[in-house]
Amino acid sequence: MSPILGPILLFALLAAALAVGMLAVGSLVGPRRNTPVKEMPYESGMDPVHDARRRFDVRFHLVAIAFLLFDVELVFLYPWAVSNKAVDGIGAAAPDLPFFPLIIFAELLVFVGMLGLGFVYAWRKGLFRWP
């Protein structure tokens, strides 16, 4: 196991154990007094009319899709941001391409430009309009 993964897994495991342990202690110590009213969903004292799991606004779905698009494109930018400083070394390895860093940077501009176009399109289509 890698020296990083071990401590992280240990941490996550102990944190989960703490959460489960607290729940267990709570259910052992606390009292239990059940009444029919307690079984009902709390809706400010009104009797609930129907099940809560009904249709909801489709905009939440659209926002989720927009998020997926932009977040994935954002993730693609991270490797570039990290390796940006190393591009120099690659340029030295390819002496027939003296403007190698500039080419890489131009590619980034094209990528972000397309991202921007998509953003403008989504905006014009009213994706971000919330009545």
């Binding site: 009902m40 989720a64 991270y78 990290v82």
Partner: protein, 408 residues
């Protein structure tokens, strides 16, 4: 593994204690802002010693445990129990890669101690630390939406939906602001990010003030603190996704919420405010002696505490956003600003790497970038001020209000 176990125990114990006492601090701050006294009574039980209310968190914890552990009949039991567990586990596990200071130098006291310097982070050298932090932060969405869905309550469902939309919307500007940091420091390792700021002495809040502002705003939204606490909003949704939770399960949600705030404060300090670095006090290299090691931890935790106090200050200073304002703010303001800022920083970084740094050296070129950074921030401020929504309560020009009435 022993070393890791000791660190994990310290981290979890410290964090849970910190969360408990920050609740007390927040209540005392709230009382101070609202000109009342706040919880100052609970001290040592069965005596008259009050200790300025320092016993309050313990009493609160005891109360939570002794309350009825109740699962209503109308919920989805598995999801209902899983939600608080997952949210607390993720909120704690984030701290596996967050440094709590520099490294402690080696120690030898009569055979006890350690040979190598001990970094004050649970998983030292995690090269994708930043990605890990954001991956686990995103898991908070699962806890919230699971809780809202499983509760089978309309308030909870609405709170969960709103919350998930908010958290994912503000993750984009957050990621864009961080890209600037990654560009400037060339690493995703949180230790390396601090070191790169310390080596030039230029905190990234100076050279990228616009990114700093975007990050702080988005971090407030990710931590679901006022003015972005729409997932809860007591007045409309009676607590939102945790309406149906009680007892220790509610406690898990509340602790996780405070841990999110602590994470956000740590990230603000580490990414933009120089981490453990303070000029002329903590040194600027990875090597430490005992004095600087302790100073670094003190500086980092002190800065974090200041940022947390800022969180609490903001809570009592701004009213809550409306949901459409919240979404418009994320998508129509922060996201384009973040994109523009990222492009400017990318160009500036190219100039620094290939033009300024070889001629002027790293430190001077880093300080020189402060000028365009501040310029970009002011330009963005002016653009937003000119294009943003206007104050509808105030007429733009004399006479324009009268025209509005006549057309209506």
């Amino acid at each position: 593994m022993t070393e890791a176990l000791v660190k994990v125990a310290f981290a979890i114990g410290g964090l849970m204690t910190a969360a408990a006492y920050l609740v007390l601090l927040e209540r005392r701050m709230a009382a101070w802002f609202q000109d009342r006294i706040g919880p100052n009574r609970v001290g040592i039980p069965l005596t008259r010693i009050r200790l300025w209310g320092l016993g309050q968190p313990l009493a609160d914890g005891g109360k939570f445990i002794l309350k009825e552990e109740y699962t209503p009949a109308h919920v989805d039991r598995t999801m209902y129990v899983l939600a608080p567990i997952s949210i607390l586990t993720a909120a704690l596990a984030v701290f596996a890669v967050i440094p709590f200071g520099g490294a402690l130098p080696s120690l030898d006291v009569g055979g006890l101690g350690w040979e190598h310097p001990v970094p004050l982070v649970v998983a030292p050298g995690a090269d994708i630390g930043l990605v890990y932090v954001f991956a686990l932060n995103s898991i908070a969405v699962y806890g919230v939406i699971l809780g809202g869905w499983a509760s089978n309550n309309k308030y909870s469902l609405l709170g969960g939906l709103r919350s998930s939309a908010q958290l994912i919307a503000y993750e984009l500007p957050l990621g864009l602001a961080i890209l600037g940091v990654v560009l400037a420091s060339g690493s995703l390792n949180l230790d390396a990010i601090i070191l790169s700021q310390a080596s030039t002495g230029t905190w990234l809040a100076f050279s990228q003030p616009l990114g700093f502002v975007i990050f702080v705003v988005a971090a407030f939204a990710e931590a679901a603190r006022l003015p972005f606490d729409l997932p809860e909003c007591e007045q409309e949704l009676i607590g939102g996704y945790h309406t149906e939770y009680s007892g220790i399960k509610l406690l898990l949600f509340l602790v996780a919420e405070f841990l999110h705030m602590i994470t956000a404060a740590f990230l603000i300090v580490i990414l933009f405010l120089g981490g453990w670095h303070l000029w002329g006090l903590t040194g600027a290299t990875a090597e430490t002696n005992w004095l600087t090691a302790l100073l670094r931890t003190a500086v980092l935790l002190g800065k974090t505490l200041l940022v947390i106090l800022f969180f609490m200050w903001v809570r009592w200073s701004w009213p809550r956003f409306r949901f459409d304002q919240l979404m418009a703010f994320a998508w129509k303001l922060l996201l384009p600003l973040g994109l523009a800022h990222f492009l400017v920083i990318a160009v500036l970084d190219q100039i620094r790497t290939y033009v300024l740094a070889p001629r002027l050296g790293e430190t001077l070129s880093a300080w020189l970038l402060v000028i365009p950074g501040v310029g970009v921030c002011i330009a963005a401020w002016i653009v937003v001020g000119l294009t943003g929504p206007r104050d509808s309560t105030r007429p733009r020009r004399p006479g324009s209000a009268a025209r509005g009435v006549s057309t209506a």
